[in-house]
Symmetry: C2
Subunit: 333 residues, 2 copies
Amino acid sequence: MKGFDFEEERIKQEITKQGAKRVLLQFPEGLKPEAPRLAAIVEKSGALAIISGDPCYGACDVAADEAERLGADLILHFGHAQMLRHTQVPTVYIEARATITIDSAVEQSIPLLSKWNKIGLATTVQHIQVLDRVREILVRAGKTVVVGDAGTTQYAGQVTGCDCSNVKSVTNDAEAFLFIGGGKFHALGIALATSKPTVIADPYENKAYSINPDAEKILKQRWAGIGEAGKAKIFGVLIGLKPGQKHLDEALRIKETIEKSGKVACLLAIREVLPEALMEFPTVEAYVNTACPRISLEAPLKFSKPVLTVNEFRVVSGESSWENLLKKGLFEN
Amino acid sequence: MKGFDFEEERIKQEITKQGAKRVLLQFPEGLKPEAPRLAAIVEKSGALAIISGDPCYGACDVAADEAERLGADLILHFGHAQMLRHTQVPTVYIEARATITIDSAVEQSIPLLSKWNKIGLATTVQHIQVLDRVREILVRAGKTVVVGDAGTTQYAGQVTGCDCSNVKSVTNDAEAFLFIGGGKFHALGIALATSKPTVIADPYENKAYSINPDAEKILKQRWAGIGEAGKAKIFGVLIGLKPGQKHLDEALRIKETIEKSGKVACLLAIREVLPEALMEFPTVEAYVNTACPRISLEAPLKFSKPVLTVNEFRVVSGESSWENLLKKGLFEN
């Protein structure tokens, strides 16, 4: 796969340094096609390579238990920056930085940002190294640039699926945000977390566009889901089983709140929150999801019942208001 | 859900007896709709109930790790007979015996069995209590009945997705087999494991029919898959991550065999062997599946690449022949 730096020399060095004999390689979906090639590199370094074939959507989902079960003594986790500080099996993060040039996509974003002067920058770990270059292009176009650092992610300006703290930390300083990267997923998170105009500069598609129409559509869907959940009598409270997605105490608190209002709450522990899995519980009328909050984002399109985030549930329970929710962000922990 | 005995009194007694404070309830797909009702019974007995929302296809798949992670002190595993002897968290098996009457379906099977005198009986744990009644009906119709007991399952005459030892132990004594139960899955296993005429008496559909045409179709598909895999240069060797599906040593042996023949083998550890998951590895041309052998059964319809069982791989590697495979059974461990 061209366009990403898999740090092959570092892989070899880490295996030698750690004296690893059995290595578990873990990739997010988009990078999995590279797995057999990188497994071969691991084996050339003298260790047995086992590829994790299960879905992986974030650094919250390090295959630590699987590694233990397989007797692996090293995990190579690709495509994400470190999030969990301690795992039982030593974990090396290979961030898979993109090598694609971003200049053209960023140039195309400038006309879309014409109404605003102060621009907040954000990106995923894949493009974190280009933020200085983006800043340069924007400053040359007469903009003031801010890059937030709330200290919760590995890098300033970095966003993940569930953590927009960096952009939120500069919401008051920025009139609009520019996100560098592919797909709508992360930029939607920024628009929803900040309620600010948000433009994507997508180097893969080589184009720039506003994400705000999509964000508005999602807000309407979320509002409808909250209304629907307000009428539910039987709730399912989802507990994530992945290492960084398990919020059992939160789930117990929500169960208690639901029961205090005279309704029924079932705790459901689940690894992959998939529509097929939830369809097995036809009597449950609405879900509150304490696992990965971003699962809920696509819920109205894929799930037949509302799948509320914890923050959205606070509106249903009366602990918060829709207005406060918009301020706090729908999808953040 | 009418038609199954969930042993609700026993559930209460077990919780009291074990002094359980937090109970994980686990169900196969068809029984999951009952989960919220049974969770309420658990909570009335004074314990916190957590339902496992992940897929569960057999007693090989007890959610022992999940229970530990959730701090559960008891697992209630529904719908399967005990298979794993030791789990870290105490596990109670609620077999969910069916209460439906089987007489009419069995009566309908008699004309289909007219050519044979000695009939082998088999069923799943759900109907194990009716085997005596079925024997009575068949004997009255002039048949001789055999029920195998190879000692590998909880009950004589019981079949599971991956264990047809009981029917195989009486293959030489039986001219044909009668399976009592719903769906084609288990009866297909019997027909493929024994190469004998096999009739289903399905009490849910209230009908009887031969499974042999389906079995023949599957044999053709399997033969084609073996041929396709024989041409592959890059193999994926699947390692199951579920407690009773992990056969790491077998996977390592297969990897070695593949590599000795000058081909490439990647080890892939996976919890749920799903078509979407395997599609992430486009360079892999064929899979050998050491996890649940029955996953391979539906492979030609759902997967885009051959997914061989361990026994089928032995034909590809030259360790065995197609004829031996038919004798040993394609889908058994």
